[in-house]
């Protein structure tokens, strides 16, 4: 196992890479994990905070992966574990900075007016990103996790919420985006 060349590491999925990293602690496996999940995690945290905090949270998260690699359960999915660590670290930091209360608001507050306009791709991208920013924290979080490929069950696990709560947030978030991007998405 130790003799697997680095080039092979690129062909392994994050769960396999984590198993190797858990056993050996060698940096090549962590490198593979960062290649696979680093950008996804950074983007997820960045959308929920700001660049400085996102870097800080990502650093904390990956350092925890190094420190706690032995506590990772082989039967769980690495990316779910990673995002759970990052999410908890982010919430702790936001609470510490007293930014948490201002970021959350009831789900039903996201009621944008429908734009209903056909726009060019660049404008659509900008509108999407703007709409994402405007979403309440918890709805945005749920939606981004789903767009990252997590199932409802995995999102529930990451956010410590019930499946129904997650589904509700996803529903509101999608409705909001749908309205912002226009009906032509249907």
């Amino acid at each position: 196992m130790l003799s697997i060349p680095l080039s092979w590491a690129g062909t392994l999925c994050p769960d396999q890479l984590m198993q190797h990293y858990q056993k050996t602690g060698a940096s090549k496996w962590l490198d593979g994990l960062i290649q696979h999940c680093g950008d996804d995690l950074y983007h997820f945290i960045l959308r929920q905070s700001d660049p400085a905090l996102a870097q800080d949270i990502c650093q904390q998260t990956w350092l925890k992966v190094m420190e706690k690699r032995h506590s990772f359960r082989a039967d769980s999915r690495f990316k779910t574990w990673l995002f759970s660590i990052a999410r908890n670290a982010l919430l702790d930091e936001l609470k510490r900075q007293q930014r948490w209360q201002s970021l959350i608001c009831p789900d039903e507050l996201a009621h944008p007016e429908s734009q209903g306009l056909a726009v060019c791709p660049v404008a659509r991208q900008q509108r999407f990103e703007q709409a994402l920013r405007l979403l309440p924290f918890l709805q945005r979080e749920a939606l981004m996790l789903q767009l990252e490929g997590f199932s409802v069950g995995q999102i529930s696990s990451i956010t410590n919420e019930l499946d129904e709560t997650v589904k509700s947030r996803l529903r509101y978030a999608r409705r909001f985006l749908q309205a912002r991007l226009g009906e032509q998405n249907e």
Partner: protein
Amino acid sequence: MNKPTSSERDELQSLYQQAKQKHRMPAALKRQLLAECEARDKRPASWRSWWQLSQLVVGCAAMLLLLSWMPWSPTSDFYQIEVAASSDYRQVQYHRLAEPRSVLTQQAAREDRLQQLWQRQQEQLQRGQAIHTRTALLQQHESNWQLTMCDELQLNLSKELVAQLQLGQSIQPYGSQWVELELAATGQVLAIRATEQVLHCPQNKAGRASFGSGLAG
């Protein structure tokens, strides 16, 4: 709201992926993390590895201690019996004690260790196995002892073994005499005592007379 259609999912997914492309994890952060990982990988001893190492050392020490004091089993090679073919006897056996497996270099310490091993083995043999007695003719040749039971069996005991055996006071230091052997079921000699009993052997194949005729008493 109805479930999102596949085209809506694709659209959102596409927009999300494009948004992600613009905000990648800073390369400096990646380098910093990998450097930290490499440093941890090369660091000789975290508290965890120290703990694991100390557990290993303690475990090995305990194992060595246990092995050094573990009683020898009767089947161990401490008491060795070699069997040889002979035209005069059905079986000839050479009994001797192996050197104790020990790093002890001082003679006194080695002898103590030998004594300990012997006692433990004897206790095991006497406790765990059926003991039987046999009459034999003892003949001493220098420091080696020879015990014969007609033409059936000849036992040759090494001087180290003789030194450890329980010898009755009536055993003569030289010459020939009838003795009673105490034997473990696996053949080890446990004790030798002088006896008045004489072993009458049937005529052997070479036409020799029984032992009894050649000895006084």
